[in-house]
Subunit: 289 residues, 2 copies
Amino acid sequence: MRSITSIGTSTQICAIIGNPVQHSLSPAIHNAAFQELDLDFVYVAHRVEDVKNAIAGMRALENFRAMSVTIPHKVEVMKYLDSVNKVDREIGAINTVINDLGTLRGMGTDGPGALNAILSAGINMDKINVLMLGSGGAARMIAFTLVHQTGLGHLAILDIDKAMLDALAGDLILQGEIPIHANLLNDNTLAENMETADLIIHCTPMGMHPRQDVSLIAPELFRQEQTVFDIVYTPMETKLLKDAKSKGLQVISGVEMFINQAVLQFEQFTGKTAPVDVMRRVVMEHLKS
Amino acid sequence: MRSITSIGTSTQICAIIGNPVQHSLSPAIHNAAFQELDLDFVYVAHRVEDVKNAIAGMRALENFRAMSVTIPHKVEVMKYLDSVNKVDREIGAINTVINDLGTLRGMGTDGPGALNAILSAGINMDKINVLMLGSGGAARMIAFTLVHQTGLGHLAILDIDKAMLDALAGDLILQGEIPIHANLLNDNTLAENMETADLIIHCTPMGMHPRQDVSLIAPELFRQEQTVFDIVYTPMETKLLKDAKSKGLQVISGVEMFINQAVLQFEQFTGKTAPVDVMRRVVMEHLKS
């Protein structure tokens, strides 16, 4: 066990910044992983309003290795960095800042974390039809990642917010050759798209605590060969996933996306392969309690 | 034992900033004390060149509770704080910044730490003659503290640097009623002042590693009723203290000043009584190794 008395002048510091951060699981996950690999790192949490000076401070404080960036700073923080991955600039938001001796790099691990959750579930993305519900920040990160990093066949996006939907669809169409179709979400468009979708990715807040009794998809729309991925993870099993499971569909929980984005962050912080099982155990323990 | 996995969203962070900080004992001392009292704090180290942005960052990062400030930032840092104790403004340097929810207070604990080391040794300061050797930064902090917080009878200061000596003496004379005499350090002035001094405080680098074989005071000048306090603590027992001890004088080691300044910082960080014995043990272990 690494005691706090092992923390010394060489210890690297990582932190989550956001507002609020009080309920973040990130310190628990990353500190458990540092301990597991016996790494000279610690992970703390800073509520931040003034993100510009938080970043200026990180740059000035050697040993401040990395930040996880959460709401509401994922967009603004990009202004203060030295470089941001191309795809993340197009997405327009990041969740990770790495400090290489005063040079700050920004990147997003939410989209890649979602993709890894899908791939770890054994899904072959090649030529499949993907139906995405929602076009907000999380949908945007996942859609960009899928369009750039997979050979999916067709991406349909449904949302009730036409302006946000059209903006996302427009930006995605510029990214490459994959056919994108965006439509207003209603009973007809949903039923129609459910008929052809192989993978459904749910990126709206429906079903999230305290609205855990609702789901966007009526159970009769499910087909057994489909997979449903819900990025909501409070509760760990949403009504959407429960319904899909009861119809015999494969399901992927948002918990896996959450774990996988943390795994990718950890590997950026440390350059080591993350102890995924330890990190999953910490997440599960916290979400159950 | 507090594991690093106990670090979470409520953990308060303290840090030393300076350049270099690689050999600082402060993380070891304070983390051992946090562990002893089971407090939700950690203490890290940041090498800093840009002190302005280090402080701006501290202000922006909630939970960043405190900084110990060391060379070369003890003077410049004062510019960026919301308040500094009056005596520390007159001294012109601080070593501690406390962050009260975004409001930054600066103070010095070196002078009070030295005074506590003297008082803990059982010295009654009332009306005594103090001889101070050296007029640099440490001498200045100690002299101001003694003049403000004790009823000493007379303070003589000797140095070879006339400009620095006169500046310190001039500033001290403005502080109150205590008679101050400053003279160039030479064999005559030293011998003369040694005849009347009750307490000698050595504040020059003479005798510090790697010049541990030298001492400013020839052993024949010692009188048995005197006390010698050497602020140098590498080696732990300087030639000055060894010589004084061999002549039967009471001695106070710079280690005690170092421990006492850390104790005062700890109490500012946490609001708790510091576990002095644990802190002393950590210092001793590190200095012996």
